[in-house]
Amino acid sequence: MSYYEFFCPVKVIAGQAALEHLPYEFSSRAVKRPMVVTDKGVRNAGLLDKVLAACEEGGMDITVVYDDVPADSSKQTVTAIAKEYRKQKCDGILAIGGGSPIDTAKAVNILVSEGGDDIAQYAGSGVLKRPLKPFFVIPTTAGTGSEVTNVAVIADTEKEVKLPFASGFMLPDAAVLDPRMTLTLPPQITAATGMDAMTHSVEAFTCLAKNPLSDAYAAAAIRKISNNLLKVMEKPDDAERRLELAQASTMAGIAFSNSMVGLVHALGHSLGAACHLPHGLCMSLFLPYVLEYNLEEIREPLSELLLHLAGPEIYAMTPKSQRAEESIATIRKLRDDLHRHCGLPRTLQETGKVEKSQLDRIAQMTIDDGSIMFNPKEASLEDARAVLEKAWA
């Protein structure tokens, strides 16, 4: 008999005019002076203005904005933002952006709630013992799912290590999904982050910690991505489908934060670090090859996923013994279509940024990545190397 735990206390505020609910949500946690943590990309895309305008109209002026979070956030950034928070006497945090601003804001919240200037002292899991300051998140990429995960990674640039933080207290009070916030996401980022959400769902559904509740979220997320990702590529300003993708990303986040990910993420983290490729792209590059590698361990759940990946007709038409293979074929076809739409690379070679001589090193990094723990098949160095070889061209 199996055993599992499932936890997601994040309120989800989603749909048309969701941003306009922010002032009420702030007041329900008695926040009067929130600090916005975001990056230049969000500001330049005009997304920050949309949030500020919605709050202003609702009678809440937001005046403290830190909009300089770098792509790979560091200890120093966290310290600097926390200092500003204290100086401005803020009483809550609103993160707007993709993974980096959200992770940074999570770490800032630890410092301003627990005290001190060195975030490193809170690294690890289970270090925090009490709730933090009010915290809200507006994701602007439909992919990472960081708005519902209890982890953050911050770089210690002096010691050249990545500091991991994990605690249920880091979860935000609410995540706000408004279609306006992802409407202008460029095609390649839409495709890559969509494939990240797809990978979160597929790995959640097939790895060691899968459970009935995370399965439900993962399957529903896969259905939404399969039905909407290509349509959004064709018609980027379709607000309804954009919202579908944003919801899928959050659902995938809930799924994988409760059941973890596997070898696709272990390979992807390593490739991303070695060759500086975006995380979502790395996921897309490895997903079908890892499924092939894991196939005999995951045939049953992967067969089940065909229903959500390809729809009831194809599922019914495919003989039971072929469904798992057909699931992989469907994912390959999705990658081909995305490549046609926006040039999203399908192989390591197509990225133009990976040298074959790097594969040994990437394989070595892969078997040291924490995500490999939950892969259904125990992958050795040779196994990781073989998957890399298949993903090459």
């Binding site: 910690a209 990545d369 723990m373």
Partner: protein
Amino acid sequence: MIRERLRPLASQAKRTYVQLMLDVVGRSLEAISQVDDEVRGEVAVLPDGFLFSMQVMPKGPALFIRKQRDGSLQYLGGSVAQRPDLSIQFKHLHHAFLVLSFQEKTAQSFANDRMLVDGDLGYAVRMTRVLNRLETFILPRLVASRAVKEYPDNLGLPEKVFSAARIYLKVAMNFVDTVRSS
């Protein structure tokens, strides 16, 4: 009325078993790290003086291992005053029992939230591989294939190294029977 409750026999046997098995694991790790290239390869990445522990919460049986400068592991027994660099903590005695009696795979126990990892997850992955490797040596093949995800077929270590551990194991297995029959 306050009444002192006696700890049931099965629970006592479980505790003794876990204590004994942690000791077996500790001693065997020390032995295997001196002779097995695969384990030495895994351990080579750990910094010198690296302190690893497995503990049962709260304040239950534990084992402490330190990486030596010569690349081997030293078993330090069940308590060390220093905070470990990496600790694997079982949330309950019973969960430790499941893993140490090879009824639940280590990775599955992680996946089931039955244990916490404090420290670098990459090192934790390595130590899990070392523990898997160890199990394949000290256990009969049949039991080992249940305890690790995949059973390696390139085992080539002198049997005698682990005969001592096997004797321990026999004693330990008696406790499993006690627990199961109650």
